[in-house]
């Protein structure tokens, strides 16, 4: 990996970086669409290229089950298998073991789980995770970590953090012996739950291992914790992580979360949210999400967003037609998915330009004003951005501020 910081925001901790991997250059900060099963749901790799996307994510747990490592090896890796010749990231498979399998038991050796094929006890060790990710061949691979839900409390959180550090050592050792470091880049995952002390310990230990890792992820968040705790952990981690390594927030996808994370110093994020919500008929816009299933859109002969460059909006697909087809025709899911991924890419692309041009604080204020101006700013966003020197309410003393997670949804026809 070649990694270069091109510019830093004069106010916040945001930065623009150029990350060159084996399959090309990805400019950061960026959002990574999720192709869980080796396909962005409904789309082709050519359509993803058309959106200018250069980095997507595959899930190791899923690809290991189907099509299986043998098929991927025969194909010459996951890039060739899915016809994607740009950058690719795989997770370690650990998160899905915990979220999808009822019988997972964590031991020092690895994660013991019931095979979904025959129910037989199966062990996923850090070495095995590396081996599977080597077969998949992604440009960025993740260490196996001991994941606990972000709502877990007690000694289990500290144990999981410490084990994640020990498993990182095993992943580094296995990866270094594989001779694949020139093609595949190992990222460490900071754990420690919502406890700043545990996070601090984990950061200390993992930053010590900097020579063995190409980048750092912040894990164990985005699991239903208070947003006010979430941003403080992100801030703590981003501040401690080394300048010359990319920083990746796992499972972050709401636009406001992305921009707060970027302002706190995060470079990469991934989430199924934009693609999943598209299939349910929700289109993301700079004025907030539109629920296309609502009857009020049934006679709107305008695109989701007149100014959007996505294939759906630029072709003038009307909200009325989408209302008629969403959740019933797969092509409507494709149309809204294309739009939502473009929206995410625009949010991050504009952030890159703004950081480069020294206008990032203005960009943040404008974005939040458009997105939340009518319903109220989430208090946690106001606090998080104040902590890095941007006051969303500056020159805007009448603005409404709301408590809670502040996620904006168009729920009903009532509005």
């Amino acid at each position: 990996m070649q990694f270069e910081v091109l510019a830093k925001c004069h106010t916040t901790r945001a930065r623009v970086c150029r990350m060159k991997l084996a399959h090309g250059v990805t400019m950061l900060p960026t959002f990574m669409p999720v192709a869980t099963q080796a396909a962005i749901k409904g789309l082709t790799p050519q359509q993803m290229e058309g959106l200018g996307v250069s980095l997507i994510l595959n899930n190791t747990y899923h690809l290991n089950l189907r099509p299986g490592i043998k098929v991927l090896q025969e194909a010459g890796g996951a890039h060739k298998f899915q016809g994607w010749n740009h950058n690719l990231l795989t997770d370690s498979g650990g998160f899905q073991l915990v979220s999808l399998s009822k019988f997972t038991k964590i031991t020092e050796e690895g994660a013991l789980f019931a095979s979904p094929f025959d129910g037989e006890p199966t062990m996923l060790t850090p070495e095995e995770s590396m081996s599977i990710q080597h077969a998949i061949g992604a440009d960025i691979i993740m260490q196996l970590d001991d994941v606990v839900s972000s709502l877990t409390v007690g000694p289990r959180v500290g144990e999981a953090m410490q084990r994640s550090v020990r498993w990182l050592d095993r992943c580094i050792a296995y990866h270094q012996n594989s001779g694949r470091q020139d093609k595949q880049n190992l990222f460490a995952i900071i754990q420690g739950g919502l406890d700043p002390d545990l996070r601090a310990q984990c950061l200390d230990e993992m930053v010590k291992r900097k020579d063995g890792v190409a980048g750092y992820a912040i894990g164990g968040l985005s699991g239903g914790e208070e947003k006010d705790v979430f941003w403080r952990i992100i801030k703590q981690c981003a501040e401690k992580l080394p300048e010359d390594r990319p920083r990746y927030s796992m499972g972050i996808g709401f636009a406001e979360d992305l921009l707060v994370c970027v302002a706190l110093g995060v470079d990469m994020a991934d989430c199924v949210f934009p693609t999943r919500t598209a299939r349910f008929g929700v289109a993301l816009t700079f004025k907030g999400p539109l629920n296309l299933r609502l009857g009020k859109h049934s006679r709107e002969f305008i695109p989701i967003d007149d100014n959007c460059p996505c294939p759906t909006c630029s072709d003038g697909v009307s909200r009325a037609l989408l209302h008629h087809t969403v959740t019933r025709e797969t092509s409507a899911a494709h149309a809204v998915t294309l739009h939502n991924l473009t929206f995410q890419a625009q949010v991050m692309g504009r952030a890159r330009d703004a950081i480069m041009n020294g206008t990032f604080p203005t960009y943040l204020r404008e974005f939040f004003s458009n997105y939340f101006g009518d319903t109220g700013y989430p208090e946690w966003c106001v606090n998080a951005l104040r902590s890095v020197g941007v006051d969303l309410l500056e020159h805007n003393t009448d603005a409404k501020v709301v408590e809670g997670d502040g996620a904006k949804w168009e729920y009903s026809d009532a509005s």
């Binding site: 250059v25 025969e74 298998f81 899915q82 299939r279 006679r299 002969f301 025709e329």
Partner: protein, 544 residues
């Protein structure tokens, strides 16, 4: 000069090379031309050819960019009934020229659109039609559509071609002779209604008129079908004559004829709606698989085409031969070839090929059939659900080459076999460097096998584009044989039927594997999928 509504001219020319047969019915080569007054260019479609089916107004599984990238889509058939969920139907509110094209995303300079009330592939039981309405299906319940409503919708949507309402009963009650007579009278009266002169917006330009196709009524009674056609040629008098002025008889205002096979197969089958199957008391998993599979039946692929031919002849004998003939829901290329050869059908809908994409089949056949007699009949396509494709990195079809091959086989131009780089990828910031250049590689059976088993929607997008392209190549080759060596056509049809499996065992196999995957994925999806199969003929449920 800009286009004014209802001023497109639809013409059909029979090409002189069409071989004559002694019965007066034989294969024909033709060309449909659609010319829009005030717009450049003529949309020409050579026949025999096909019409793409739509569901809820769109080609199932293809986003607009992929529809555009599929050259095989030149003419689309739009059943209107799903739009009856709102009053007035939303497409009728679309402004500008070519409102139906605009609303649905079809290109006036590339796509011909036919608008019809009912989905011709839907054979669900329906409440009876009335003297002045057709019962149509929408998700919000059955809607009664009067000839006046229909004319209003057609005028507001301005499709290139409109199909007149037809009184085709979809009730369980046995149809009496009296009912048949009534059906003919209603269908003729409703046609007359649509043929009324279109109000002219001004003095400039040609007189506006609709391009109207009529469904050939009469069910499975040859005499009734004949009588309906004869009635189209009889001069009308008094009030009726006034209605259709300047035409003197109905056929004069008709641009072409359509045949819906579903009600014919229904009428010919001894077990169909007259003897509904009794529901099973016990429901096991195996039965659920069978039920789900049954819901996916290809449109009566194995039904005897031979019985259809005399019925179609009965309709066509009295009528002029110079108008195009469209058949809906032909269940296989075997049926299509037989109807081209024995009836002179010009256009078929692609429902069959599109349905194959829903259930995981990549079509793989050519006309004429490859030389030599195979040991066993070849399958028309590859069931990519099947485990034998799990490690199969070959492209979708053996009969075609991909953009990456350089042999003598014809190339399949679809987005799966010949993917091309996006011409102008979006750039989201001034800093972004262009994506690395590389030639896209053709998609493999192993990849689509994986996508099908994980219920990834991309599989159906690739298969739909591929299957439409294979069907397009098939018709191109049918036309070539008819043009270059018409005397050999009948022989080639027979050879095709020997070489390729007309019973479509691959279809049954795909249906069964499809149902197994649906079950493995859990009840939620299966329930929605079943609901979908009961209500909408084409497409699969969105994987949420």
């Amino acid at each position: 000069m800009s286009y004014t509504r209802h001023t497109s001219t639809f013409r059909f020319e029979l090409l002189p090379s069409s071989p004559e047969s002694t019965t007066g019915f034989g294969p024909r080569l033709g060309k449909t031309c659609l010319e829009r007054y005030g717009e450049d260019g003529v949309l020409e479609i050579v026949t025999p050819g096909f019409i793409t089916s739509t569901s809820r107004g769109v080609v199932p599984h293809l986003s607009r960019d992929n529809t555009d990238a599929t050259d095989a889509i030149r003419w689309a058939h739009v059943p209107f009934e799903t739009f009856l969920e709102h009053t007035p139907p939303v497409p009728t509110l679309q402004s500008g020229s070519h409102p139906l094209h605009k609303f649905l995303g079809f290109r006036p300079n590339q796509h011909i659109l036919t608008m019809t009330l009912r989905d011709p592939s839907d054979d669900r039981e329906m409440p009876a039609n009335g003297h002045s309405f057709v019962s149509a299906y929408s998700l919000r319940g059955v809607r009664k559509v009067s000839p006046g409503d229909w004319r209003k919708y057609v005028l507001a949507c301005d499709p290139d071609i409109a199909i007149a309402l037809s009184d085709t009963p979809f009730t369980t009650v046995a149809h009496s002779q009296k009912r048949t007579t009534k059906s003919l009278e209603r269908s003729a009266a409703w046609l007359a209604d649509l043929l009324q002169a279109v109000p002219s917006p001004g003095s400039e330009g040609p007189t506006p008129r609709l391009n109207v196709f009529v469904h050939m009524a009469g069910g499975v009674i040859a005499a009734a079908r004949h009588a309906f056609s004869v009635s189209l040629l009889e001069p009308l008098y008094e009030r009726e004559a006034e209605t259709i002025k300047p035409f003197t008889h109905l056929d004069e205002g008709v641009s072409g004829y359509t045949f819906d096979l579903i009600p014919l197969y229904d009428g010919l089958s001894p077990s169909s709606r007259f003897n509904p199957p009794t529901p099973s008391a016990l429901s096991t998993v195996e039965e659920t698989v069978e039920e789900t599979a049954a819901a996916l039946d290809p449109p009566h692929s194995s039904s005897p085409t031979a019985q259809l031919v005399p019925l179609l002849h009965a309709s066509l004998v009295p009528l002029p031969k110079t108008k195009p003939r469209i058949v809906h829901s032909a269940g296989s290329p075997h049926v299509m070839l037989a109807l081209i050869r024995d009836v002179g059908i010009d256009l078929f809908d692609a429902h069959w090929a599109q349905r194959a994409a829903d259930i995981g089949i990549a079509l793989d056949f050519v006309f004429p059939a490859p030389p030599g007699a195979p040991d066993a009949p070849k399958a028309l396509g590859n069931n990519l659900y099947d485990a034998r494709h799990a490690h199969d990195f070959s492209p979708f079809a053996d009969s075609f080459r991909t953009c990456a091959d350089a042999d003598a086989r014809p190339v399949c131009p679809c987005i799966a076999c010949s993917p091309s780089r996006h011409a102008a990828p979006l750039r989201m910031s001034a800093l972004d460097e262009p994506l690395s250049e590389h030639a896209p590689t053709p998609f493999t059976r192993a990849y689509v096998h994986h996508l099908l088993h994980t219920h990834e929607m991309s599989a159906h997008a690739l298969l739909t584009a591929h299957n439409l392209s294979v069907l397009d190549a098939f018709f191109a080759c049918v036309r070539r044989v008819l043009a270059d060596r018409p005397a050999d056509f009948a022989g080639e049809v027979e050879r095709f039927c020997v070489v390729y499996d007309g019973t479509m065992a691959v279809w049954e196999e795909a249906k069964a594997t499809w149902a197994e995957v649906a079950l493995a994925r859990g009840k939620g999806r299966l329930a929605r999928e079943k609901e979908r199969q009961e209500k909408d003929a084409l497409g699969t449920a969105v994987e949420l």
